[in-house]
């Protein structure tokens, strides 16, 4: 069972999607969806538990071991991301189910969401570069489809930037993957890690690193590649928006961590500096943009960008503690952003619009919703003792410790601007009583279930905020294992399957590829400094 655990969270959603497509009865579809998402959580929890004892779960697809076949490798980081995905998914799917009546639900939405989840999960568990590309494509095409599925007629041209930019990103990914293969002779993370130690001083590694920074930066929302984000996220239906905002950008960050942490040597200081430099405009423009917008979800989207900038600082500093801060921040951010988008959806449904001027007296009308929103907004802004604060604390402490005071100053300014933009929602939006009466058209009925689902997400992040010790410990341990490239590569490369009983060592080339080379001999994996 454990040995096939890595692939389960990938194919399970896919099978679910297929099954949902088969049935036309809405009740059945919803039942399948609901049950599946809960089972998915169980699977990912099992995976987390398995990681405690096994450190890495390895599964060679098709029986072919690394580096020839595609290996699924689940280490602590992957397990955390997959768990987060399943938690967000279960909330999003149940929200989606309770959001619309059976007649109104678009029959294609649920299958597409499950396909998207499959793609996201595959990105997190794969140990192969080209497989990562395929995973990205699954995720992307599902997201394209979801974006245009229920979009307004007038807004549909906004889908195009998202599509165009991501296609360029995919093209770039393909080129980068090809170049990586050419340089390292392999597509497997562990194998490349070993190979890179043989050619560590080759400056071409920098080129590849920069290419991947661009590719994943486009996905994550780095400056100036983030233009697609604020124009597309606010237009989505609430649960889909929550899914995208919480997870899709994090896939980019995760991929960057994987490439820099697991695949490439840990000394690409030039590239890290580029990320640090780009972090500055990302943070500031994100916060500044949030100040200017007038609709809840647009403000949230820009805040998302701003916080990606903060995560970029964590990556750019590239110390074990800053990556630990990053991992904690990701955990906090996924939950908080998901709940905020869902809350925004609820509020928009109650008020009839997300425009700040038209919100009416939400504070009085729906005190619970407003209060939850306030809590999560404060958490996002980094107010103690909510979850966001500890991440900032870790990052600021580390940055101060290594003398990166400038970035601390910018983080401070960004935090204040971010706080301001979020508070504006409360003061200008929630507290003002608008002249017009609200909700004449209440075809958006807020059911207690939707509030309950969102409440559970909020409670989860509150729990993390009030008692962050175990999460911080996990984050630190995960960062440590990430930096321990040797352990990872050793475990992956030494995993033997029936079909591939021989070891493979990367060799410096002596002669061109021949049809019948010498039989590959069993050799010991080289010792090297991590």
């Amino acid at each position: 069972m454990i040995s096939s655990l890595p692939v389960l969270p990938v194919i399970f959603p896919m099978i679910t999607a297929a099954m949902i497509l088969l049935f036309s009865e809405v009740k059945t579809r919803r039942l399948i969806a609901s049950a599946s998402s809960v089972v998915q959580v169980a699977i990912t929890v099992m995976m987390m538990l398995a990681i405690q004892t096994h450190q890495i779960l390895i599964m060679p697809m098709g029986g072919w071991a690394a580096p020839f076949g595609i290996m699924l490798t689940v280490d602590s980081l992957s397990a955390i991301m997959v768990l987060l995905t399943s938690i967000v998914s279960v909330a999003v799917i149940h929200y989606s189910i309770t959001e619309k009546t059976e007649k109104q639900e678009h029959p294609l939405r649920l299958p597409l969401i499950f396909f998207c989840i499959a793609g996201i999960t595959l990105s997190f568990v794969t140990g192969d570069l080209f497989n990562l590309f395929v995973a990205f494509e699954i995720m992307l095409i599902a997201s394209y489809a979801l974006l245009t599925l229920e979009i307004d007629r007038k807004e549909i041209s906004h889908a195009y930037p998202y599509l165009a930019i991501n296609i360029i990103g995919s093209a770039l990914f393909l080129c980068a993957a090809g170049l990586t293969y050419s340089l390292f002779g392999s597509l497997n993370f562990a194998d490349i890690a070993i190979s890179s130690t043989l050619i560590m001083t080759d400056p071409r590694i920098v080129v590849i690193a920069v290419l991947f920074t661009l590719v994943f930066g486009m996905k994550a929302g780095f400056f100036p590649l983030y233009y697609w984000l604020p124009n597309s996220y606010p237009k989505l239906p609430a649960p889909v928006g929550a899914l995208f905002a919480a997870l899709l950008t994090k896939v980019g960050i995760y991929a960057l961590l994987r490439i820099f942490g697991t695949m490439l040597p840990h000394q690409l200081w030039g590239v890290y500096s580029i990320i640090l430099l780009l972090a500055i405009p990302t943070m500031i423009l994100g916060a500044v943009g949030a100040l200017e917008r007038q609709s809840i979800r647009e403000i949230l989207s820009f805040n998302l960008i701003s916080h990606i900038g903060i995560m970029m600082v964590a990556i750019g500093l590239f110390t074990q503690e800053s990556i630990a801060a990053l991992i904690y921040y990701i955990i906090h951010h996924v939950l908080v952003i998901a709940s905020l988008f869902l809350l925004a959806g609820l509020i928009e449904a109650r008020a009839g619009s997300g425009d700040l001027k038209k919100l009416g007296n939400i504070w009085k009308q729906s005190p619970i919703l407003s209060f939850l929103f306030l809590i999560q907004a404060l958490s996002l802004a980094g107010i103690p003792p909510l979850s966001g604060f500890w991440g900032k604390w870790m990052l600021i402490s580390e940055a101060l410790g290594i003398g990166a005071g400038v970035f601390v100053a910018i983080i401070v300014i960004t935090s204040v601007l971010s706080l301001w933009s979020l508070l504006r929602i409360i003061t200008t939006g929630f507290w003002t009583s608008s002249a017009t009466t609200t909700t004449d058209s209440s075809n958006h009925i807020i059911s207690k279930d939707m509030v309950a689902i969102t409440l559970s997400l909020v409670l989860l992040s509150l729990l993390i905020g009030l008692s962050p010790n175990s999460v911080i410990k996990t984050a630190r341990r995960t960062s440590q294992s990430l930096f321990n490239q040797f352990e990872y590569t050793k475990k992956v490369m030494e995993y033997r399957s029936i079909r591939t009983p021989h070891y493979h060592t990367p060799k410096i080339i002596e002669s061109p590829i021949q049809i019948s080379p010498e039989p590959i001999e069993i050799q010991e994996i080289e010792e090297h400094q991590g």
Partner: protein, 779 residues
């Protein structure tokens, strides 16, 4: 007893917050007695704290684990400072709860929320002053800001409340973050997060002096923000839109004192720093003067009190600056003075506001007849404010004047003295003006319409005021208790004694002068009906803050205007340009030999290949040049077909076949698209020359980069590749002789599964796009 007391302190601090749910129980009696019930909470907390406190003098630390990973724990320090602030917080809190009971509309459903916020604030306040752990301090510090935000915004629909709450949280948030950075630096440099340990280390900290100054400045920024010092004072007048009990408590007695608390707490550490005194004195003096001047120049009663608070806080800051390396003396006495008289004044003002339903001083007067108790209390408290003998204010002013007059002579002494005099006179004027609320003719309402304030609401006021009187008449008793709370490093070992009469001293003469001049000016102004008391809006820092906010918003609009375009090519231009630029930036320094020589590396040529390549290139360029869509389509199909042939030249038969098939289907789809479209491509826009040049530059750069990358990576190959294995293993292990096929379906079959999924999803996406609402589902 140890374990109980370990958690007891935490419980005592959290007690007010834990009681919050009780206020939401829908019971009539709870709603009726809400305020009085709330009053119990701070008193209970105080009881717990006092019962735990041992003989003061030896600080106690109380420790409960919280976040070992970050070194942040529930660690509390019970010493003189924390006890002093706890006592004043709790007592004033109890008084305000009782006051609120009578102030707020009876049995209003919103009241529960009010007491909830208030109790939450009390917890946060207690946590801050008792905190021994740096992280914990910050946590509670920010929580006080949150509580303040909620309380200011309590009357949420008022625009003033919104702005006030926003301004408060942004300002204290920013300054709080500066303090955070300073404190983290401190804990990194000292190696501990516990304040008690840092305080012990204080004498040895001179080694890290340069950093210490930075830390000090950062922490002081935090203090100044919270205590409304220049230039952060503007939030306090804005916060006056809060309900009056909130103003009486948070914004005069409790939260604004946190900055003072911080200064006192860190005095032993920073007292010796060369910049400590200058900063404190300068900021304190400026604040003191500005506050007093603005207090005179307003007609709003709460604004008057707010600015006088600012001034008084400035005086406190200044007096800490005037302390020596041994410490200060009687600072607690001065803080005590301000807490009680200001709280009383605010509460009295609240009574007036309640009765007359306005905050404008010109429209109120003559309240004494209807609220005599409050009137007496107001007289006493105003006496304290202006420094009238018999009140704590008098002693306090005398102390301050004495300190100023006895500092070793420098040229600034005169300025400080002058500032003190100006401020004091201003406060006299403001105080006398306050009294017009109670005395003089009845204004605003006629006798019949006045709803006399109840006895209950006046009781807390007189209680507070009585402290000013009692400790003013018998200051030595106050000194005894304050000395009991003495803290090493902050206070003189044996403070000078205080009494009302110390002989005809310079301070006494000055006090007399201040009172006389102040009274005189007040008389003049009174005769002129206080007309001169207005300050142009532009001079106020608040308006400057508003301007700042507006400017920032305008800048953000300007910056983000670019993002709002609907033209994706604009984004694309930026993004592609950025990619091109960045890659160029990386490639050029690293591989300068790339630029030219590759052209000459044509060692292997194939005529057919070259010919095909030229044709493909030509067709590609034709795609650019072709005018009509159909021609473009033809050109691109030619490209596709020729590339398939090129694949053949590369010995890739499967590739060629697949490419051809996909190309065909693609063309069919494009034809379908082109047929169904209107003839005119309405999205077509004409490009200017600048744009064209930019496009050409970007496109060609990327093209060159692509070529360079290929040559760069493929030439000079160092490592072996895994494809050798595939070639070797395809027949024996995978059972097929076509290596590409076996890779696709066996070795890397998982990828193929992924690609098929993509096709399925794409199909779903297409269906979704073509979906017509209400149409039939085509499964």
């Amino acid at each position: 007893m140890g374990i109980i007391s370990k958690y007891a302190l935490l419980l005592g601090i959290l007690l007010p917050t834990l009681l919050i749910p009780f206020f939401f129980i829908p019971s009539k009696s709870i709603k009726k007695y809400a305020g009085l019930l709330a009053m119990m909470a701070p008193l209970a907390s105080l009881g717990i704290i006092l019962s735990i406190a041992n003989k003061v003098g030896i600080p106690q630390v109380n420790f409960v684990n919280w976040i070992p990973e970050l070194g942040i724990h529930f660690s509390f320090l019970i010493d003189g400072i924390s006890l002093f602030f706890s006592i004043t917080t709790c007592m004033m809190g109890a008084l305000v709860c009782a006051y609120s009971h009578y102030y707020l509309p009876k049995s209003s459903p919103k009241n529960s929320r009010f007491y909830a916020y208030l109790l939450f604030f009390i917890t946060a306040m207690l946590g801050t002053v008792l905190s021994n752990n740096i992280g914990l301090l910050i946590v509670f510090w920010e929580l006080t800001a949150i509580a303040s935000f909620l309380l200011i915004g309590f009357k949420s629909s008022k625009e003033g409340s919104q702005k006030g709450a926003l301004a408060t949280l942004i300002t204290t948030g920013f300054t709080g973050l500066c303090m955070l950075v300073g404190l983290i630096l401190l804990s990194i440099l000292t190696g501990t997060s516990e304040l008690s340990e840092v305080l012990i280390l204080a004498p040895t900290l001179t080694q890290i002096q340069p950093y210490l100054t930075t830390i000090m400045v950062l922490i002081l920024i935090g203090a100044f923000g919270k205590s409304a010092q220049f230039p952060f004072y503007f939030w306090l007048p804005k916060a006056m839109s809060a309900p009056t009990p909130v103003s009486a408590y948070l914004h005069s007695a409790a939260m604004v004192k946190l900055g003072i608390f911080l200064i006192a707490r860190f005095y032993p550490i920073f007292g010796g720093n060369s910049l400590w005194a200058p900063i404190l004195i300068t900021i304190g003096v400026i604040t003191m003067v500005i506050g007093a001047v603005y207090a005179v120049m307003t007609h709003d009663i709460k604004e008057l009190l707010a600015y006088s608070t600012v001034s008084q806080l400035g005086a406190l800051v200044m007096s800490y600056g005037l302390g020596t390396t041994y410490g200060v003396e009687h600072d607690f006495y001065q803080i005590l003075n301000h807490i009680f008289y200001k709280g009383a004044l605010f509460m009295a003002a609240g009574v007036a506001i309640h009765t007359f339903d306005t905050q404008d001083l010109r429209k109120m007067g003559g309240l004494f007849k209807f609220a005599p108790i409050a009137g007496i209390a107001a007289v006493i408290s105003v006496g304290a404010m202006i420094g009238f003998p018999g009140t704590t204010g008098f002693i306090s002013k005398e102390l301050l004047l004495h300190t100023i007059l006895t500092i070793p002579t420098q040229k600034e002494n005169g300025i400080i003295l002058a500032a003190m005099l100006v401020a004091a006179i201003g406060l006299v004027i403001a105080g006398i003006r306050f009294l017009t609320l109670f005395f003089g003719n009845l204004k605003g309402l006629s006798e019949e319409h006045i709803d006399p304030p109840s006895m209950g609401i006046q009781l807390p006021i007189i209680i507070a005021a009585s402290f000013s009187l009692i400790f003013g008449l018998f200051p030595q008793d106050a000194v005894f208790w304050c000395d009991y709370l003495r803290v090493a490093g902050l206070h003189y070992p044996s403070p000078a004694s205080l009494s009302i009469w110390q002989g005809i001293t310079n301070p006494l003469i000055l006090s007399g002068g201040i009172l006389t001049v102040g009274a005189g000016i007040s008389w003049v102004l009174y005769k002129r009906k206080w007309v001169d008391c207005t300050l142009p809006e532009t001079a106020k820092l608040e308006t400057k803050f508003d301007h700042l906010l507006n400017t920032i918003q305008k800048i953000s609009t300007a910056i983000t205007a670019g993002v709002k375009t609907d033209h994706s090519p604009d984004y694309l231009m930026i993004i592609l340009g950025f990619i091109a630029g960045l890659l160029l930036l990386i490639l050029l320094p690293l591989f300068p030999e790339l630029i030219l020589p590759f052209l000459f590396k044509m060692d292997d040529t194939n005529t057919l290949g070259s010919l095909t390549a030229i044709l493909i290139g030509g067709a590609a360029i034709a795609t650019l040049i072709a005018k009509t869509n159909i021609n473009k389509l033809i050109a691109i199909s030619v490209v596709g077909a020729l590339i398939s042939f090129y694949f053949l030249l590369y010995h890739a038969p499967d590739l060629a076949l697949t490419n051809l098939m996909i190309e065909a289907i693609g063309v069919v789809l494009m034809v379908l698209l082109l047929i169904r479209l209107p003839k005119e491509d309405t999205s077509q826009k004409v490009d200017g020359t600048l744009r064209k040049t930019a496009n050409i530059t970007i496109a060609s750069t990327i093209g060159v980069i692509a070529t360079s990358l290929i040559l760069l990576m493929t030439n000079n190959q160092v490592l072996d590749s895994i494809s050798g294995y595939f070639i070797e293993a395809t027949v024996p292990l995978a059972g097929g002789s076509n290596a590409v096929n076996t890779i696709l379906v066996d070795f890397r079959g998982f990828d193929t599964m992924g690609e098929i999924s993509v096709l399925v999803i794409a199909a779903i996406g297409v269906i979704g796009l073509l979906w017509k609402k209400g149409g039939s589902i085509n499964q």
